[in-house]
């Protein structure tokens, strides 16, 4: 197994700021927009973006929720292991809101398909966008593309993109791991 640094802390920070600006451009005061981090790892991206938007761009209020997609996945009973759920926390209505789904790595698109189904349990949004920090090109199983992408990566199938965060893993770095 070998690994190389795909993005350093500084690069991640620059990209997060760009993504925050792009969100700002489309949603301005975030009055009718909600950010939804996809569990388990999309929540870190969502939290960082929220922090930047609030502290550096003066957005007063951002509705941020976490969505667990475990019970909506299409591989239940297909693997060896029981799929373990994480917490869903959406304490606002999404009816008629613009929803931005946020995840760290967009790979096959199956998680996003699950998230699109799951989010319907909370109402009918006026539109849904997708933000992915890393977009793995050429590996999609479904016709799903992000509206906002941090970095596009050409990774082959036995490679893995691993995103680490200070608050969870001790450092901000993204690795490309060759298994």
């Amino acid at each position: 197994m070998s690994q190389k640094v795909l993005l350093s802390e500084k690069e991640i920070n620059i990209i997060l700021h760009r993504l925050a600006c792009q969100l700002l451009e489309n949603h301005l005061d975030f009055k009718d927009t909600v950010l939804i981090g996809i569990q388990p790892r999309g929540i870190f991206v969502a939290e960082r973006l929220t922090k930047i938007l609030k502290e550096e761009y003066g957005v007063k209020e951002i509705k941020l929720g976490f969505l667990d997609i475990t019970f909506y996945r299409d591989d239940f009973r297909r693997g060896d292991k029981t799929l373990e759920a994480t917490k869903t926390k959406i304490d606002f209505l999404i009816e008629d809101k613009k929803v931005v789904l946020i995840d760290d790595v967009l790979y096959t698109g199956r998680s996003i398909r699950s998230a699109l189904t799951a989010i319907q349990s909370f109402g009918r949004p006026s539109e849904i966008e997708l933000l992915a920090l890393i977009d793995r090109r050429f590996s999609r199983h479904l016709p799903i593309q992000p509206n906002y992408r941090g970095r596009q990566v050409d990774a082959i199938n036995n490679e893995k993109v691993k995103v680490l965060w200070k608050e969870n893993d001790g450092e901000d770095v993204i690795y490309l791991i060759n298994k």
Binding site: D68, T70, F71, Y72, R73, F76, R77, K81, T82, L83, E84, A85, T86, K87, T88, T117, A118, Q120, S121, F122, G123
Partner: protein
């Protein structure tokens, strides 16, 4: 990742502590799901579950059916009263006939202790015991412990008294196993005739004075007198039972502390518990019912994920 150590839920006796924690953590997520405006997830859309009830039940049957439907499983119901069991068919034949219609899981209530265990050895489906005679009622014990955990934060170290007919109660036995496994202290209280001999060997203490038991406990689980199971007279009159083992508001108010009141239902109001207690804020009886659906969703989800 964690998974259950068992393929069937036949009794609490066959579970370990990790299983119980996994069921509770999974139930937390399902409790959030059933409080959404759309209370349904698609996980089990390719699973078929048969609810086979050889004994009457309203709450358990409804709770299981609701749990199955909220997981998107296909559900078929079967009650013995309208079936070929009456025509002399054996249990294995009945179930195998149902299974040949491609059923993946069987939820069964049966009047004979061990019916679930017997079935699990002879058929291929995953079995969930929804009560077998006076033996076990595992999902009830799980939802009871889950409700205690929700109300008091933890089950370990809590003092729980189970009051009533311990001798005929599957709820009592499953509760004793579940509570002991989680490190609670358990006391049983009731007329001597309704306390099994050697019950102490399960690690519980015995008390025949209700006031003493209530003063000791954090939680009192009041059981119903199951008149349908009492073949002989175990106490002189219902009125005398109520006087000695019934809980009323006056008794609760005279205790040193505020205890939590539980009841597995159905309640005989005015016998083991008065209405003002059942409907008081100390009672978590309706929380138990709500939690029952979440717990059964968790059990079915975790067992179904092991069906290959």
């Amino acid at each position: 990742m964690a998974e259950l150590s068992v393929k069937h839920l036949l009794g609490i006796k066959y579970l370990n502590e990790n299983d119980i924690q996994l069921i509770f953590e999974t139930a937390d997520h399902f409790k959030e799901v059933i409080n959404r405006s759309i209370k349904k997830v698609p996980s089990l859309r390719d699973i078929t579950i048969a609810n086979i009830f050889f004994e009457n039940s309203t709450r358990t049957k409804l709770s299981f059916e609701l749990a199955e439907k909220r997981l998107s499983a296909d559900v078929i119901n079967f009650s013995a009263a309208q079936s070929s069991v009456k025509k002399g068919e054996t249990l294995i034949d009945t179930v195998n006939n149902i299974l040949s219609m491609k059923v993946d899981m069987v939820v069964m209530r049966h009047p004979n202790p061990g019916a679930g265990i017997f079935l699990s050895k002879h058929v291929k489906a995953s079995i969930v015991n929804a009560g077998d005679g006076a033996h076990e009622h595992p999902t009830q014990a799980l939802l009871d412990s889950y409700s205690i955990r929700e109300k008091l934060g933890d089950v370990a170290g809590k003092n729980v008294v189970i009051v009533g007919d311990i001798l005929h109660s599957r709820v009592a036995l499953s509760n004793i196993f579940a509570l002991k496994l989680q490190g609670a202290n358990v006391k049983v209280c009731g007329p001597k005739t309704l306390l099994p001999k050697h019950i102490e060997s399960l690690g519980v203490t015995v008390e025949t004075d209700l006031r003493k038991a209530l003063n000791w406990c954090d939680v009192a689980n009041m059981l119903r007198i199951q008149n349908e199971r009492l073949d002989i007279s175990y106490f002189p009159t219902t009125r005398e039972y109520t006087q000695q083992f019934g809980v009323n508001k006056k008794l609760l108010n005279s205790l040193d502390k505020e205890i939590v009141i539980m009841h597995p239902g159905p309640i005989n109001r005015g016998v083991e518990i008065t209405s003002d207690v059942a409907d008081s804020k100390q009672s978590i009886i309706l929380n138990q019912v709500e939690n029952g659906v979440a717990i059964r969703m968790a059990v079915i989800y975790l067992l179904a994920s092991k069906i290959k």
